[in-house]
Symmetry: C2
Subunit: 326 residues, 2 copies
């Protein structure tokens, strides 16, 4: 078990104890939110968003490490007092105490606070590299599940003959946060082999991912138009469908684009929370597409370490994330 000081940033809506100082900058609307948060934490000792039920995550430094017998130590399983860590378990499950709130960042829905949290060994946390800015860490770890799942589904270059067959990766929403991580991880697996196609409707994001130079094609298309997406993918892929498709488009009605652009016995992996189970299931059946449809699991073993390591290998991806999300 570790106990942790929280002088830093917290994603989502961070808990505050009643009576703690509020920042001078807080306006009436912000104050109302903070007071709602205070009430939640006062009654629960944890934080959860009353609308979504989710809790967010936090960044901070390890203040103390306690063994099950109550013995206090300086280090445990590679963690030391003073280490910067991020929690990967919802704040709705994390015991918290707040001593002060030092600033509110409305745009990124983050709070800077002073306080402590109790983390359990069974819960998920990750040590942050020293050279990773906190805000970047928050942005990346928010979608830490993407890269490891891509790594499991995209074949490694060593398993591919050149020119590679069965190695076309399609990323719908490839210019967004999780989409870029999917593209980067796919390229990491494929090396110079295979083919990566990104579909991105937002022109600036399409330009961003094109500039990374990791894709063979970036198609500026709306993923809600399955016929256009399928046609463009076939055109960009010598008439073949994708072998694996990752859907990272967080708007409804993009299931059919993923299904229709993927080959029989290929995989369509849905990361977007806007995915409809029935639209995917009945859609694939309706067009007789024999593909594996997967619900994106945000958790994978050592997913945070995996994603942070990947970021170090792609400085351009990191620079883009820093420019866009910090």
């Amino acid at each position: 078990m570790e106990e942790e000081e929280v002088p830093a940033s917290a994603g989502g809506k961070f808990p505050l104890s009643i009576g703690v100082p509020l920042p001078d900058s807080a306006d009436v609307r912000t104050e109302r939110v903070l007071k709602k948060v205070l009430a939640t934490v006062a009654s629960r000792g944890k934080q959860h968003n009353p609308v979504t039920g989710s809790g967010g995550m936090l960044l901070g430094r390890v203040a103390q490490i306690a063994a099950p017998d109550g013995e206090v130590s300086r280090a445990h399983r590679g963690l030391r007092v003073g280490d910067r860590v991020a929690t990967l378990v919802s704040l709705s499950l994390t015991p918290l105490r707040l001593d002060a709130i030092t600033s509110v960042r409305t745009e990124s829905a983050q709070l800077d606070v002073r306080g402590q949290a109790v983390l359990f060994e069974s819960g998920s946390l990750v040590k942050l590299p020293d050279d990773l800015p906190e805000r970047l860490a928050l942005a990346v770890l928010d979608v830490a599940g993407a890269a490891p799942q891509v790594a499991r589904l995209v074949p490694h270059e060593s398993a591919l003959s050149a020119p590679a067959s069965n190695a076309t990766v399609l990323v719908l929403g490839g210019g967004g946060k999780s989409g870029i991580l999917c593209v980067a991880e796919a390229r990491r697996r494929l090396g110079k082999k295979g083919r990566i196609i990104a579909v991105e409707s937002y022109a600036r994001y399409a330009e961003d991912v094109r500039a990374l130079g990791l894709c063979d094609a970036v198609l500026t298309l709306d993923a809600r138009d399955p016929v256009s997406v399928r046609r463009a993918v076939l055109e960009a892929n010598e008439g073949r469908e994708a072998d694996v498709t990752f859907s990272c488009v967080n708007v409804p009605d993009t299931e059919m684009a993923a299904i229709m652009a993927t080959r029989d016995r290929g995989v369509a992996y849905f990361f977007a929370m806007s995915t409809s189970f029935t639209k995917a299931a009945l859609g694939a059946e309706g067009v007789s597409k024999d593909i594996d449809l997967m619900i994106g699991n945000g958790y994978a073993e050592r997913h945070a370490e995996h994603t942070l390591a990947m970021m170090q290998e792609f400085p351009a991806v990191r620079a883009l994330f820093e420019a866009r999300y910090t």
Copy 2:
């Protein structure tokens, strides 16, 4: 292309052309439904349920087979004029003409009709074995996707050492229509090895599946209670979680039972249309379960043939289906 006479039964709401005779038995409410169907077919030449958008399926006999050049033949790719077939493509995509409706089966939502349908070679249809009653065929083919997906995920006995590890199959809703097919297919794969555990809340259905003798344990439990399900599965499986779980429970809030009863890197496969994408995705993440979550695809290549062949191998399953669904 085949053209097909339809003297037989049709699942879902079957289309009728305006002016066709209605059965004498039809009451006022039934007549209203039939007239709605008539209006749909009259305007579209196909049938779809205006509420669900789905179309059902039909059974009938092949009346004529036409080649793309218009040439009429007696046989094509194993199909002959006179063969009994079932369509596996939605009636909402199948051109239809109705000449008479001979009876209405309200309980099973089936109509007996005379008429013709045009089926395309690209669409999915299956030849029915001569000894399979039509009503049984309808019941089985309605969930034809289940068995082939199970066959893909459950290891074959030849790949298992005895006592088998990594071969515990859990079926939630194991006493229902698709659940029984999952249980039977799992046993077909595992032979005398592995372990099959069914969870079924409805006592009569639990007794039915127990009587089949295919399961190692049948637990009469509500799949909406993940803690009880997990505890009972561990008890029935020497403290281990399931390797593959199939969820066939058509009520909401059963995602967590499947997730919590499945081992890390195992698979939870969701057939039930009541499955919530977000509950599965966020649920697995929330409890840090590194498992593959799959959306049940009702289509798999040759799924109907696969399922019909499986039924022939399990006379007790067939007898149960005949007793329950015909």
